[in-house]
Amino acid sequence: MNIHEYQAKELLDRFGAETPRGGVARTPAEAERVARELGTNQLVVKSQIHAGGRGKGTFTNGFQGGVHLCKTAGQARDLAAKMLGQTLVTHQTGPAGRVVNHVLVAESVEIEKEFYFAVLLDRATGAPVIVASREGGMDIEEVAAKSPEKIIREAVDPAFGLQPYQTRKLARELGFAPQQMRAACKLFAALYRCFHDCDCSMVEINPLVLTKGGQVLALDAKFSFDDNALFRHPDIMALRDVGEEDPREVEASKHHLSYIGLDGNIGCMVNGAGLAMATMDIIKHHGGEPANFLDVGGGATEEQVTEAFKILLSDPKVKAILVNIFGGIMKCDIIAQGVMNAVKAVRLGIPLVVRLEGTNVELGRKMLAESGLPIASASDLDDAAEQIVKLAPKE
């Protein structure tokens, strides 16, 4: 789950992690009010969408740039009027763009120095780690590849948390002057608390800045939350903006199906995440392109299979469907019946190949063959992939 910049700012504020002063606005009048309350002539108005590249983006109404500096509350109002309700296209949104429903109006700070700071899970040790660098504002992967010596790593004991001495060590390694240390340490400690208390898998601050006025601030924040822990964070769950998500993925999540949209034309329905990935891989191996990842789970019901078909068919790009089920606990005849019912229910009009394996597989295949429905049965995984690639139109 992703959240908006203004939501990240509100979350950081709650943990005492300092960010530039500002507030969110849904109307031009609100933007004007927020700007006036800031009482400064150095303002920035930022479009709020879940995509990067906003500053260099273009609105479909022709207005250039999703991020603008200005001096007065009146100018903030006028800028907000040009952004709100409009569609912003950036290199990350695709040509359809995203509608801007909120703008963040904030004080624009004068930057003395930029840093990179992140708290994340280190899978190798099974513990949190702080990754920081003096090379702020840049792509950290690039820094790590070109000059790994510029990356600082500080392991955190998950039982005890980030210790004060560790924040001081980090501040010195990042080159903060003695008089800035207190502010830097306070910010690092707050960021770790936020990571821990919100069950994040990552909190990335890029850049974290030292201002010309000597403040240490989180200027931009990217949060990744652990989906498994959202049940105990209703407040974070409430930040979800389904308008920013793939509607197919939203629909799938309602039915407890794990779905990820891709660019190909062969829809897949598989039980189990590993087998689902392997099925995508084998389609590609035989020259086809998978349209999605879809895991119906180990104990999928007939209703879930029907919903899964509906989601696959709601995608106009899907021109053929491959069903691959290893029936272990669930018997193949039951799965075959579920597929047949679903095909009838959705009036399937595109090629379908079904590959079943496991308990009662002979009976399941026989049922599909005698159903009179346009379902091709595959003998094994290779055969299934070859058949479906042949049946799907070439792109």
């Binding site: 099974g126 950290i140 989906d227 590993g274 990935m277 891989d281 180990g298 290893f326 272990g328 094994d380």
Partner: protein
């Protein structure tokens, strides 16, 4: 001829009275697993299926039945606590089937298990089976056959796929370990291959991995230096887009790391035969087992 579990394993099931706990306990009992106890808090004194006593705590179950392995079906919000309870009671092998445990909880569990003698398998895994002797988990028993191939995997149904390929070609398995699809797990790919390498009755190893993390690379590096047994590997997720969690919480390419191609490269570099498609996993191993 097995690792970790065999006919002497005495199993307790935590969450035995829940819907899936009860269902899979029955299936394990039918397979021949010696289920000696169940645990559900506040249900102590009941008897499951007319033969398995239910206790309120793992400590009582351990004291009264001598159970030496546990299978956990407790809901995700309570599962980390269930693991710690089993470890505190001294249960040697903890198999946690539960999917969806918060990562922060597992960090604490992993840290606390360092000071314990218990081994954890999972969470979010199908479990472990020594064919013909003991099944702890949700895998369909009949696809397995006693034999000499060790299987370790991060995925459930993909493991069944490989096992079924072996069995239908007449080759049995010593033990199959589903280590789970979460970012933090107890027994790692490396731990599992070390067990198989040391087991005289395991003659070949199948290693099934997927995108995310570096578990396969670590296992490959160790195998290269320490193991002469034939090994075949498969990595799922070559077509997975970066930055997306592919069903399993741990199956995610982040920061350009954990890609399928890098993992395959590491396996090949260690002299491991790599199956290009999931349909050739067994054949790839059988081609190198002499």
């Amino acid at each position: 001829m097995s690792v970790l579990v065999d006919k002497n394993t005495r199993l307790v099931v935590q969450g035995i009275t829940g819907k899936s706990g009860a269902f899979h306990t029955r299936s394990c009992m039918e397979y021949g697993t010696n289920v000696v106890a169940g645990v559900t808090p506040a249900r102590g004194g009941e008897v499951f299926e007319d033969k398995v006593p239910v206790f309120d705590t793992v400590h009582e179950a351990r004291e009264q039945t001598g159970c030496n392995a546990t299978m956990i079906f407790v809901p995700p919000e309570f599962a980390a606590d269930a693991i710690l309870e089993a470890a505190d009671a001294g249960v040697e092998l903890i198999v946690c089937i539960t999917e969806g445990i918060p990562v922060m909880d597992m960090m604490r569990v992993k840290e606390m298990l360092k000071a314990s003698n218990s081994r954890l398998i999972g969470p979010n895994c199908p479990g472990i089976i020594t064919p013909g002797q003991c099944k702890i988990g949700i895998m369909p028993g009949y696809i397995h056959k006693p034999g000499n191939i060790g299987v370790v995997s991060r995925s459930g149904t993909l493991t069944y796929e490989a096992v079924w390929q072996l069995t239908s070609r007449g080759h049995g398995q010593s033990t199959c370990i589903g280590i789970g699809g979460d970012p933090i797990i107890g027994t790692t790919t490396l731990d599992a291959v070390q067990l198989f390498a040391a087991d005289p009755d395991t003659h070949g190893i199948i290693l099934i991995g997927e995108i995310g993390g570096s578990a396969e690379e670590e296992a490959a590096a160790w195998l290269k230096e320490n193991c002469d047994k034939p090994v075949a590997g498969f990595i799922a997720g070559a077509t997975a887009p970066p930055g997306r969690r592919m069903g399993h919480a741990g199956a995610i390419i982040s920061g350009g790391k954990g890609t399928a191609s890098a993992k395959k490269e590491a396996l090949r570099d260690a002299g491991i035969a790599v199956a290009e498609t999931p349909s050739t996993i067994a054949d790839t191993l059988l081609a190198v087992v002499k």
